[in-house]
């Protein structure tokens, strides 16, 4: 009997070790101009911001090179501070060079006029399931001062059989790595609202629904540009 008992013990020891589960979490590197201005007044200034996210959706600080298509209408310095020069329109370009020497670019068309007009800070999206659990609904994200507001619409439904369902804001919908945890989901039907302090509306591009105990994605929702 001793060899059999030793075999049992060996099987238990070998197979009960913690291993690795590999998560496919590569996303496209991206540079985004996060500013929300529509029109800049002549002689007024506006600070543009650029956000670079790497191939795992992590925000990284890289030097951003700023330029405009017509400096006689709108000028911009090396730090992204733009000045309205004359009435008209110009495209602002932002550019970064990644650590892999990849050049990324984003642009935004800005009018120069008599008064400065910022666009409404609102982004929308659709929550969708990426699993076989029910998860669906529309949402709107708005900004009120320092507060980010996520309004989930009345057509929202989620399976109440999900244990430990959490909501995150992220730039990588494949993982909670580098994501902001909004909190545990406790509404599974109908409209509801999340209010979060200290998060900018342009900081994240996805809602991510994630089952924490099982470390598995349940669904997501991409925020509109």
């Amino acid at each position: 009997m001793r060899p059999i008992l030793l075999l049992m013990l060996l099987a238990a020891l070998v197979q009960s070790c913690i291993g690795d589960d590999i998560i496919q979490d590569t996303v496209t590197e991206e540079l985004r101009i996060t500013s929300t201005i529509d029109t800049l007044a002549v002689n007024d200034t506006y600070q543009f911001e650029g956000r670079y996210t790497n191939n795992i959706g992590q925000t990284q600080a890289l030097p951003v090179f700023w330029s405009t298509t017509d400096a006689s209408i709108l000028s911009i310095d090396d730090n992204g501070l733009a000045t309205g020069i004359a009435t008209g329109a110009a495209t602002v370009y932002a550019e970064v060079v990644t650590p892999e020497q990849l050049t990324l670019r984003d642009s935004v068309l800005v009018a120069v006029g008599t008064e400065t007009v910022t666009t409404i800070s609102e982004r929308t999206g659709v929550i969708r399931t990426t699993s076989s659990y029910v998860l669906e609904g529309d949402f709107i994200v708005t900004q009120e001062g320092d507060e980010l507001i996520i309004e989930v619409a009345d057509n929202y439904r989620a399976s109440a059989s999900l244990p430990g369902l959490y909501l995150y804001l992220t730039n990588n919908p494949n993982t909670t790595n580098n994501a902001f945890e909004v909190g545990k989901v406790d509404v599974f039907n109908g409209g509801h609202t999340y209010r979060i302090n200290g998060i900018n509306i342009s900081e994240y591009d996805y809602l991510l629904y994630y089952c924490k105990p099982f470390s598995v994605k349940v669904g997501d929702g991409q925020l509109s540009e």
Binding site: M8, D21, A160, G164, F188
Partner: protein, 287 residues
């Protein structure tokens, strides 16, 4: 990880441990088994019955199972997982190789079942017995750094079961068939369950080999709280879990007293339960 743990342990564990059928042990006789049972699961049945992936979880139980005949009709039953281990894997970024969520493990006693089987009909071709089993929550129900690892469910349950069996011969082969139905009363807001099983076994090759085919089912009464409504850390999957499984077993009788056996348990349908097979291997002794 969770209530699923005890659920699986009981279903795939107890079923593969027992001596076979509803026959009580004769007075002074017994059946004792030291076994290793395990499941490694990277997928589960969701509430829709479809299969979704999950982080790999492992549960390992080293158990002592005993049946002992106090009288010809009354048998004592003990299932004692004296070493139980539960773990989940690291999740690692394929892009950077970094650990996103570190794995975790706990080791403890497991939830233990103790009870009695009483032979209602023991003469004649058919055997009818009644069993009551009490699930003693000796295991950990919210272990690990996140409170999500379990070697028990933290609830005291009572299983009442009837077994109807018959022994017969097919040529020179001794065989038996058994059907069972039970009601599992669960506490702490768990849903109660109906349990069913049917098995057929045969002993052949000069009584050296015993093969058993077993089908087991669980239907939840869905009268407990939903997983999303349960307290954090002990919420996973036990409530309202359902499945039907096929669990074949083969035993080799080394001599009249000692033997070894192995089982594999596969759920062919289910809800809110792991979808990977479980395995066990054990050494038994007949007194």
């Amino acid at each position: 990880m969770r209530r699923l743990t005890l659920f699986i342990l009981f279903i795939f564990g107890i079923q593969s441990l027992q001596a076979g059928g509803g026959w009580p042990q004769p007075k002074g006789h017994g059946f004792f088994k030291l076994s290793q049972w395990w499941i490694i699961a990277d997928q589960h049945f969701t509430d829709t019955g479809l299969i979704d992936p999950n982080v790999t979880n492992g549960i390992f139980n080293t158990s002592l199972y005993a049946e002992y005949g106090f009288t010809d009709r009354l048998t004592g039953i003990l299932n004692f997982p004296f070493y139980s281990r539960a773990y989940f894997n690291n999740t690692v970024s394929a892009t950077t190789g970094e650990i996103i969520t570190p794995g975790d493990a706990i080791n403890s006693l497991g939830d233990t079942d103790i009870g009695l089987k009483y032979g209602l009909l023991t003469k004649g071709p058919y055997v009818l017995s009644a069993t009551v089993l009490f699930g003693i929550p000796l295991g950990e129900n919210a272990g690990g750094s996140q409170g999500t690892l379990q070697t028990g469910d933290g609830e005291f349950n009572q299983l009442f079961q009837l077994d109807l069996g018959r022994g017969f011969t097919i040529g020179k082969v001794n065989a038996f068939a058994n059907i069972a139905a039970g009601f599992n009363n669960r506490t702490n807001d768990f849903s109660d369950e109906l349990r069913f099983s049917a098995e057929f076994g045969a002993t052949f090759w000069n009584n050296k080999i015993t093969a058993i085919a077993r089908i087991t089912g669980i239907e939840s009464l869905n009268n407990g709280v939903l997983p999303s409504e349960a307290a954090a850390g002990v919420t996973i999957f036990a409530n309202n879990s359902e499945f039907w499984s096929f669990t074949p077993e083969i035993a080799y009788n080394i001599n009249e007293q000692w033997g070894v056996s192995a089982t594999i348990g596969t759920a062919f349908s289910g809800r809110l339960i792991y979808a990977n097979p479980s395995y066990s291997f054990g050494v038994f002794f007949k007194l």
